[in-house]
């Protein structure tokens, strides 16, 4: 490696900073709106086709959702102007830590280690009314 290489790399770094600033200025991300029940169900249907949802809980800020589908928890989380989805055993999701109005679900995945969702309570409210859940 020589001086020319470092100059080139530094110049590229400056160019990147300018391009990112331009992208921020342009405000041309996908137009999105906070998740509603219908929107979340549509996304769950896309991510987990054919799965029957026993219950859906939308994050308070609309930036995610959790669904119960049989023995599985399906999780949606906003990432920029898009979403990522994961599934995990329902019991594992129930065991997630809940503090300051946020549930932090361990996804055990190097690509998305955890999902943090704004929720009024955890386990989610109304769970006892969901199909397949016996009253405690």
């Amino acid at each position: 490696m020589n001086t020319a290489f470092f100059i080139q790399t530094a110049a590229s770094g400056v160019a990147i900073a300018l391009l990112v600033a331009l992208a921020a200025w342009a405000k041309i991300a996908r137009p999105g709106s906070p998740l509603t029940d219908a929107y979340a169900r549509a996304l769950f249907a896309q991510e987990f086709p054919g799965r029957i949802l026993d219950g859906v809980w939308i994050a308070g800020d609309g930036a995610g959702a959790v669904a119960k589908s049989g023995g599985l928890a399906l999780v949606l989380c906003q990432v920029g102007d898009a979403y990522m989805a994961r599934q995990l055993p329902w019991a594992q999701a129930l065991a997630a830590s809940f503090r300051d109005g946020r549930v932090r679900i361990d996804l055990a995945d190097a690509g998305a280690p955890c999902a943090t969702l704004v929720m009024p309570a955890w386990p989610p409210q109304g769970l006892e009314k969901v199909r397949g859940v016996r009253a405690a």
Binding site: A24, A82, M84
Partner: protein, 315 residues
């Protein structure tokens, strides 16, 4: 060791100018393009990091090519037009198989996956290049060209030209090229399909410059008006940490091996999404599930000869 003519380096100002153009025209409402700020930063950062990583490994891979070249079968002149035509075809076919193995086997997917981690498809996505290609060893696939007798510098130039060609196809601004062009060349439309995570689009269109390889080897899938591309990987990443983009699949492999060392070979060389108990999804399974749920659409889809159809189901 280095070569005097480096297409990627020479094209960098063109990359920058066209990203600016795409952003400005999209902002003006003239073309279709979406840029998310952090996504753009990661794509461009991966591009720069890839150049830096390339400097560290290019010397070794070029030296290997020079070593192999000593034992060449033929003396192929760098100045002959036929030699360039032959190299164009052979290099492009090499790229096809490199790209296909990069999707069908997890070890090589771990290096290539980062290129697919964006949920966007714009010119900056093209620059989201691997940092770990040297480690994955896929450069070995190009050594036979030097063994045949193509000078290593000539091969390096052609590889660079191919990469530069593949830049412009990362855009939603161009819907379709003329039919004759779509028939022969890789285009924005064909490559959008390659970046899509819709089950019917998974593991299709591995082409570099010529789409004919996909048509020939049964992996071609045209973009369908009724099915818009959804970009990214089967299990999209949970954030914009550039190190996670670069290394998450490698980390996943190591974690899986540590957990179940007796399945090391499967974890390394099985298709992405493979697991000993079948608890994860491979592309093949996702495609089969989709076809079962959409028999009419699956029937109408372009028939593809039996071939390993896996991957993109990164963990």
């Amino acid at each position: 060791m280095s070569i005097a003519f480096e297409p990627v380096k020479l094209a960098t100002p063109f990359f920058i100018a066209t990203v600016i153009l795409e952003i400005v025209l999209a902002r003006a409402g003239k073309i279709r393009a979406h840029y998310e700020t952090r996504d753009t930063a990661v794509s461009l950062g991966m591009g720069l990091g890839s150049q830096v990583a390339g400097v560290l490994t290019a010397g070794a891979s070029f030296a290997a090519a020079v070593w192999v070249y000593q034992y060449r079968l033929f003396a192929i002149p760098m100045t002959a037009v036929w030699a360039w035509v032959a190299l164009f075809l052979l290099e492009d076919m090499t790229y096809y198989w490199f790209h296909r193995i990069s999707h069908e086997r997890r070890f090589w997917w771990a290096s290539h996956v980062n290129h697919h981690t964006s949920q966007h498809y714009n010119l900056s996505t093209a620059l989201r290049q691997t940092w770990t290609g040297g480690l994955a060893g896929t450069w070995l696939l190009w050594l036979p060209l030097s063994f045949l007798g193509f000078p290593p510098a000539m091969v390096a130039i052609q590889k660079g030209l191919s990469l530069v060609y593949q830049y412009w196809i990362h855009t939603e601004a161009i819907r379709r090229m003329p039919a004759w062009f779509e028939a022969v060349f890789n285009t924005p439309s064909h490559h959008r399909v390659h970046h899509a995570r819709n089950p019917r689009y998974l593991d299709r269109n591995y082409a570099g410059i010529l789409i004919v390889w996909d048509r020939l080897f049964g992996t071609f899938q045209p973009e369908l008006d009724e099915e818009a591309c959804r970009y990214g990987i089967v299990r999209n990443l949970g954030g914009f940490n550039i190190f996670r983009v670069a290394f998450h699949e490698w980390i996943g492999i190591v974690q899986d091996i540590l957990r179940q060392p007796r399945h090391t070979l499967g974890w390394l060389f099985g298709p992405p999404g493979w697991s000993p108990d079948g608890s994860r999804d491979t592309s093949a399974r996702l495609k089969a599930q989709w076809a079962a749920a959409n028999p009419a659409a699956a029937e109408a889809s372009v028939p593809t000869p039996a071939a390993p159809q896996e991957s993109r189901a990164g963990t």
